[in-house]
C-alpha cells in the first residue's frame, strides 16, 4: 500500500461516481428549530419567575425575618430552584449546538470537562439537600394549619427525594461518560487524554 499509484487508485475508487440517496432531514431540522425556540422561551420564563420570586422575597423580607430561619430557607430554596432550572436549560440549549472544538482531542476534552462539571453539580446538589434536610420538620412545625403542614411536608419530601434521585443518576451517568471518553481517546487517538 506504500505504492502511491495504488493508493491514488483506491482513492479514486472510493470517491468515484456515486449517487447516494440522501435522507430527508427537513422534518428533523424543523423539530430542532422548534425545540430551540421553545427552550429559549422557557429559559426567559424561568428567569422571569426567578426575578419575580426574588422581588416577592425582598418585599416580604421583614415578615420572613420575623419567622426566623424559615425566611432564609425559602430564600435558599428559591435561589437553588432558580439557578438549578436556568442552569439545566442553559446546558440543554448548549447541547443543541454542535461543539466547535478544533479537533477530536478538543472535543473529547470538552466532553470530559462537561462530565466533570456535571459530577460537581451532583455533589453540590447532595450537599444542598443535606442542608435542606430539616426543611420538612420546619415546615410541619411552622405551618398555620394541618392541611398546609401536610402539603408543605409532602412538597419538601418530594424535593429532597427527587433531588437525591437526580444526583445519584447524574453521578452514575457522568462517571460512565468519563470512562467512555477515556476509552474513546485510547482507541481513536491511541494515547491517553491529557489537557
Amino acid at each position: 500500500m506504500n505504492d502511491a499509484d495504488e493508493w491514488s487508485r483506491l482513492q479514486d475508487a472510493w470517491g468515484g461516481d456515486t449517487q447516494a440517496a440522501m435522507p430527508d432531514v427537513a422534518p428533523m431540522i424543523a423539530r430542532a428549530r422548534r425545540e430551540r425556540r421553545s427552550m429559549v422561551w422557557t429559559i426567559a420564563g424561568e428567569c422571569l419567575i426567578t426575578v419575580v420570586s426574588v422581588a416577592i422575597v425582598i418585599e416580604n423580607w421583614p415578615r420572613l425575618r420575623a419567622d426566623g430561619l424559615l425566611g432564609l430557607w425559602w430564600a435558599l430554596i428559591l435561589v437553588v430552584g432558580g439557578v438549578g432550572s436556568v442552569g439545566t436549560f442553559a446546558i440543554r440549549i448548549a447541547g443543541l449546538r454542535e461543539p466547535t472544538g478544533a479537533s477530536l482531542r478538543d472535543w473529547l476534552l470538552l466532553r470530559r470537562r462537561r462530565a466533570r462539571l456535571g459530577l460537581r453539580l451532583a455533589q453540590l446538589t447532595r450537599w444542598t439537600l443535606v442542608v435542606l434536610l430539616p426543611a420538612p420538620l420546619v415546615t410541619a412545625t411552622t405551618a398555620r394549619s394541618a392541611a398546609a403542614a401536610a402539603w408543605g411536608v409532602a412538597a419538601m419530601l418530594l424535593l429532597l427525594g427527587g433531588g437525591w434521585w437526580w444526583a445519584r443518576r447524574k453521578t452514575a451517568r457522568m462517571t460512565t461518560d468519563i470512562a467512555e471518553v477515556d476509552a474513546l481517546a485510547r482507541e481513536w487517538l491511541d494515547q491517553p487524554l491529557t489537557a
Partner: protein, 166 residues
C-alpha cells in the same frame, strides 16, 4: 439568516452528501442504524454551519462534524451493542444496501476491508481516502503529524492485507 443557512446547507449536502453516506457506512453496518446516523450527521452539520468561519475549507469542516458524530455513534454502540448484528442484506447475496446506496463494486470491496479494521485505524484510512492531507488529519484529531504518518502507514498495511484476503 435562517434562509441563508438553509441555502448553504443544501449546497453542502449536494456537494458532500455522498461523503457523509460513506462515513456512516464505514462505521455502521446495520441499514436502519446507518440511515439514522446519516440523518444525525446531517442535522449536526446544519447545527454547526452558523459557526463556520472559513478558517478551513467547508469540506474539512463537514468532515470534522461527521467524524465526531461517528466517534459518538461508535461509543454509544459499544455501550449498547444490541443493534450490532450483521446487515441481513449484506449476508444473503442480494443487492446490499451499499449497492442501493450507490456504491460501486470497488467501493463495496474497499468498504468491506475497511470495516474489518479497528476503529482507530479505520478513521485514519477513511480520512486519507477522502483526500485529507497528513497535516489536516493531525489537526482534525489533535495529534502530531509524525504520529499520523506512523499510524496511517500501519493502517494502510492492514488494509492491504484485508484487500488481498478478500
Amino acid at each position: 439568516m435562517t434562509g441563508s443557512i438553509d441555502a448553504q446547507f443544501e449546497r453542502v449536502m449536494a456537494e458532500h452528501g455522498s461523503m457523509l453516506v460513506r462515513f456512516a457506512a464505514s462505521f455502521e453496518r446495520n441499514r436502519h442504524a446507518r440511515q439514522d446516523l446519516v440523518q444525525d450527521i446531517m442535522l449536526a452539520v446544519w447545527q454547526a454551519l452558523p459557526a463556520f468561519r472559513g478558517e478551513a475549507s467547508i469540506k474539512t469542516y463537514v468532515i470534522g462534524v461527521a467524524h465526531r458524530r461517528c466517534a459518538s455513534h461508535v461509543m454509544r454502540a459499544v455501550a449498547q451493542p444490541a443493534h450490532e448484528a450483521l446487515d441481513e442484506d449484506w449476508e444473503d447475496g442480494q443487492p446490499g444496501p451499499e449497492a442501493r446506496a450507490g456504491l460501486n463494486q470497488q467501493q463495496q470491496r474497499l468498504l468491506a476491508a475497511l470495516r474489518q479494521l479497528p476503529v482507530g485505524q479505520r478513521q485514519l484510512v477513511l480520512l486519507a481516502l477522502e483526500g485529507m492531507r497528513y497535516e489536516e488529519i493531525a489537526a482534525l484529531l489533535g495529534i502530531s503529524v509524525n504520529n499520523v504518518g506512523v499510524r496511517l502507514n500501519r493502517a494502510k498495511a492492514a488494509l492491504k492485507e484485508r484487500l488481498e484476503d478478500a
